[in-house]
Symmetry: C2
Subunit: 247 residues, 2 copies
C-alpha cells in the first residue's frame, strides 16, 4: 500500500520481452539519426527513468545492441553509437520486365537449390491459360553472403526443356529472354507484405515474424499461355521501390 501510482509500463501487454522492445526502440532512434554516430546515449539511469524499466532491462537491451555492433559500451565512461548502420544495399524492385532482366544481368546472385515443400502452383482465371505441365524450381538467392530472397518458380515444361541446363544453373529470366523461340507478351507483378513464417525464417536466416515482401510474377505468351509463375519472398529490409507517379 506504499504507492499506487499508475504504471504506464510503456509498452507492456506485448508478449515480446521488454528488453527486446527497448532494444528495438533504441535501434530505431539510432537509425533515424535521432542519436547520430558517435553520440553518447543517455545513461542507463536516464533510460530507466524515461521508459520506467529496471536496470537489468536497460542493460539487457544495451548488450543486445552492443553484440550486434551498433553501439559500444565503455565502462565508467558511457555508451556510444558506433556505425550508423546504413541501409545495406537494398534490392531495387524493378517495375518493368526489361529492367528486371537487366538487373539480373549485372547482379548474379548465388543460387542455392532447396528441397521442395512449398505451395502448389495456384492460378486464377485472370492469369491466363495454364500450360500442360510445369517444371518447378525453388531456390535461395544470396548476395554478399546475405540470403535475400526465396524464389519458387513454375516454368512451362516445354520451355524448360529448351535449355534445361541453363535454367538449372542460372537466373531464369535472363535465360528466358535469351531464347529466340519464346516471346513474353504479358507480365504482371503484385506485391504484398507479411511476416516471415517458420520456413522462410529458416531459409533466409531471419527472425520469425520479421517483415517480408511477397512478390508474385506471372508471364504469359501471346496466345495467353502462362509460361512462368514466380513467388518470391524477399527480406523486408532489402526491398526498395521507386516510382514516377507522373507516368
Amino acid at each position: 500500500m506504499t504507492d499506487q501510482t499508475k504504471k504506464p509500463k510503456f509498452f507492456d501487454s506485448s508478449p515480446i520481452p521488454l528488453y527486446v522492445q527497448l532494444a528495438d526502440i533504441i535501434r530505431y532512434r539510432i537509425e533515424r539519426q535521432l542519436w547520430p554516430e558517435g553520440t553518447m546515449l543517455p545513461t542507463i539511469d536516464t533510460l530507466m527513468d524515461e521508459f520506467s524499466v529496471s536496470r537489468v532491462t536497460v542493460r539487457h537491451a544495451m548488450q543486445l545492441l552492443s553484440s550486434s555492433g551498433l553501439i559500444e559500451i565503455q565502462r565508467g565512461v558511457g555508451t556510444f553509437v558506433l556505425k550508423n548502420h546504413t541501409r545495406r544495399n537494398p534490392v531495387k524492385v524493378e517495375t518493368t520486365l526489361d529492367g528486371l532482366i537487366e538487373a539480373y544481368r549485372n547482379d548474379k546472385p548465388l543460387l542455392t537449390y532447396i528441397s521442395d515443400s512449398s505451395e502448389p502452383l495456384c492460378l486464377t482465371e485472370d492469369d491466363g491459360i495454364p500450360a500442360p505441365s510445369y517444371q518447378h524450381l525453388r531456390r535461395v538467392h544470396t548476395r554478399d553472403d546475405v540470403k535475400y530472397c526465396v524464389i519458387s518458380i513454375y516454368l512451362d515444361e516445354r520451355i524448360f526443356k529448351m535449355a534445361e541446363e541453363r535454367f538449372r544453373t542460372e537466373v531464369i529470366l535472363p535465360v528466358l529472354a535469351s531464347l529466340d523461340d519464346v516471346t513474353v507478351a504479358n507480365a504482371k507483378q503484385s506485391i504484398t507484405i507479411s511476416k516471415a513464417d517458420l520456413e522462410t525464417s529458416r531459409l533466409l536466416d531471419l527472425p520469425l515474424g520479421d517483415p517480408v515482401a511477397h512478390v508474385r510474377r506471372v508471364l504469359t505468351a501471346s496466345d495467353g499461355t502462362i509460361i512462368y509463375v514466380a513467388g518470391v519472398t524477399y527480406r523486408g529490409d532489402y526491398i526498395h521501390l521507386e516510382m514516377d507517379l507522373k507516368k
Copy 2:
C-alpha cells in the same frame, strides 16, 4: 545423464515466447489454406509431438488463436478452424498521381489529427528546390474502423493558404488537384518496408515490430519547387501493389 538426445527445439533462440511463435505458425497454415475452414486441427498431443513442445505451450498458443476468433476449441471433441480470416480490404498502392487522386475521391477516410513529434522535413538535392516555408499536417487515416496509415505532410505554405480550411479537413491530394493555380510537374514515390516503432504501433493500434510500409511522396512544380512532401506509414497487411511489367 539420462538421454542426451539433441533437442532441435525447432525455433528457439528467439526471444519471442514459444507459444507466440507457435500461434503464428498455426495462423499462417490456416491463412494459407493448409488447414481450411472447418477442418479439425491436429490434436494437442500431435502438435506437442510435431513441434517438440509441452502441452502448456500448445494450449497457450491455441488460446491465443481462439481468443482472436480464428479457431474454436471444443472440449472432448477437437479444435476447429473457424473463419478463413480473409485478407481485409487492402489498400491498393497507386502508381500514378491521377490514380492516387481518384482513389481518394472514392474513398474518404476518417482523418484524425495528431500532435506532432515527428521527423523534421528532410530533403535531398534530387528532390528539387525547397519552398520558403511549409505547413505541416499530420494525421491518421481510418477506414472501416481500422487505422491503416499515419501520414505526415509538408505542404508549401503559399499553397496551403489558398484553401486552408479544405486542406485541414479533407485529404490533401484531391484538394491540391482541384486548385487551378497549382500545377504538379513531377511526382515521385518510394516505398520501403520496416517494422512498427513505438509511436507507429500506438497510432495504428499495431503490435510493436509488425511489418509496415513507408511511402515517401514528393511533388514538384514546373519550376522545380517542392510543393508537397508526404511520409506515409501503412500497416503492412494493408498494402497491395499491382504492376504491369510490360510498361
